[in-house]
């Protein structure tokens, strides 16, 4: 990422040093990404098959090839703070076609995991967590649906945690084990007040 020079703000931004410096590289980042993703971004030869397979690339600045490159070089900050990180639909087309047998999708997932450790995460992800913590479902039931279910001869609540809410406790235990609910609540509150 570009380095500032201590000039007045406007000039500092305009004239920021864009060269890549060795101290931006964190070799541990490469290793951590590989461990979490269980794949091998360090083998990338930048052919672009992934980007060309990507449904998000043609409508955004998201370039999965660039993220794999960042994994390879250990450019941790540049990777984790780029909002494009969250545009992967996880369709795995890149993974199916990568000639180097890398799973770029899993590289993205690993980077998102590492970003979350820095509280970098879109709130919609956390809201899914909150919903599951409360009900066991990411997309919970509602009254319209309950009525429709009954019309079909189904129970108003499906035989899931909805029908058997005693099971929600187990789910809460798991999420609390990782302090996920606490962190989710905290981050949502910070963002939305």
């Amino acid at each position: 990422m570009a380095r500032t020079k201590g000039y007045p703000e406007a000039l500092d931004k305009k004239l920021a040093d864009t060269r890549l410096y060795e101290d931006e590289r964190h070799p541990d980042f490469t290793k951590t990404v590989e461990k979490v993703s269980m794949t091998i971004p360090h083998m990338c030869f930048q052919c672009g098959t992934c980007t060309a397979s990507c449904p998000s690339a043609p409508r955004s600045s998201y370039r999965i090839r660039k993220f794999v490159r960042r994994a390879l070089l250990g450019l941790e900050d540049e990777a984790l703070t780029d909002p494009d990180l969250w545009l992967c639909t996880t369709c795995y087309s890149c993974t199916d076609r990568c000639p180097r047998d890398i799973a770029p999708t899993d590289v993205i997932m690993a980077m998102r995991n590492l970003a979350f450790k820095r509280d970098i995460v879109p709130v919609n992800f956390l809201k899914t967590v909150q919903a599951i913590y409360t009900t066991g479902h990411g997309v919970p039931n509602n009254d319209v649906n309950r009525a429709a279910r009954q019309k079909l001869g189904l129970n108003a609540e499906p035989p899931t945690t909805h029908g058997f809410p005693q099971y929600v406790k187990g789910i809460q235990y798991i999420l609390d084990y990782y302090e996920l609910k606490k962190n989710a609540d905290r981050i949502v509150k910070e963002r939305e007040g």
């Binding site: 998102r112 997309v139 990782y178």
Partner: protein, 296 residues
């Protein structure tokens, strides 16, 4: 009757109950009994949970798997997203002992242990498999052939990809679901870039809706070109993206398609003589009427 623990997921029971209802009824006619998997939760959503912490995703999915292990039944499910979580976590935990240990360490707190004693199947693959059901049995079960209709298939991503880990063969030019559509008497129709993602996955639908439905719109343009009467899929989340997505596309981009979107189980239900009411097709955002008129 083969018995499976039926993993419902979220969207089918809570948004498209017709798909759930159709699954019980259609599969029963094909020799499959779907049993309640009591206390199952969200799979959990592979995009949201996988993005936040893969370990939590593994543990949460393992809990669902253990419920079926306790029933001593394989799991059957009808959603690609669920398949990604439930099938893949089952597969990963079975093949990575250190991962299994890590997960069991957490689950100890709720007296659960993942053993790896069951398998996970998508109902569609059970339908297609001649050893289980097969096309002929599907054909034999049909009372209202969907003759004269042109139906396109959206395979979705998380069922078959990444192909190296799965067992479905080609992910570039698959035709097995088209064969299942043809078995209902309908004409399966190819269209441009069939294997393109619906746009919903990976949390993108929630993160950037217009981006997400712009992908859907690209699919809709290609489907329109192919002049199809309906789109079928085997994933309620894709279904939601195409069905409600069309309303969102109309709102945001000002384009209207009106293409009915039906889960394969709903389609099969129609062909086996279930009424639109029995399938709660009225809950769909895009009216299925134009398609139903052709069929019934």
């Amino acid at each position: 009757m083969r018995e499976y623990a039926f993993f419902l997921g979220c969207i089918a029971p809570n948004r498209y109950p017709g798909a759930e209802s159709a699954s019980y009824k259609t599969s029963e006619k094909l020799g499959i009994k779907l049993l309640d998997l009591e206390g199952a939760s969200c799979c959990p959503a592979p995009g949201a949970f996988g993005s936040i912490d893969l370990d939590i995703w593994y543990a949460m999915a393992a809990r669902n798997l253990i419920l079926a292990e306790q029933m001593k039944k394989d799991i059957a499910l009808i959603c690609n997203g669920c398949y990604k979580s439930i099938w893949e976590v089952n597969h990963k935990l079975k093949h990575h002992p250190e991962l299994k240990e890590r997960v069991n360490e957490v689950l100890k707190g709720i007296d659960m242990e993942f053993k790896g004693s069951i398998d996970v199947w998508h109902l569609a693959e059970l339908f297609y498999d001649p050893e289980i059901v097969g096309l002929q049995k599907i054909r034999d079960s049909i009372t209202v052939p969907l003759e004269g209709t042109r139906i396109a298939v959206h395979y979705g991503c998380h069922l078959m990809k990444p192909k190296k880990e799965r067992h479905f063969g080609t992910t570039e030019h698959p035709t097995w679901i088209e064969e299942m559509v043809a078995a209902l008497g309908a004409e399966p129709v190819e269209y441009r870039n069939k294997m393109l993602c619906c746009g919903a996955g990976g949390g993108v639908r929630g993160y950037d809706l217009v981006h997400s439905i712009d992908i859907t719109n690209e699919k809709m343009i290609n489907l329109k070109e192919a002049k199809v009467d309906a789109l079928t899929e085997v994933c309620p989340f894709c279904q939601l993206q195409f069905d409600r997505g069309q309303i969102e596309i109309e709102e945001k981009f000002g384009v209207k398609y009106g293409l009915p979107v039906l889960h394969y189980c709903e389609l099969l239900g129609l062909a086996q003589g279930m009424s639109p009411q029995e399938l709660a097709l009225d809950l769909h955002a895009v009216s299925c009427e134009p398609f139903l008129e052709k069929v019934l």
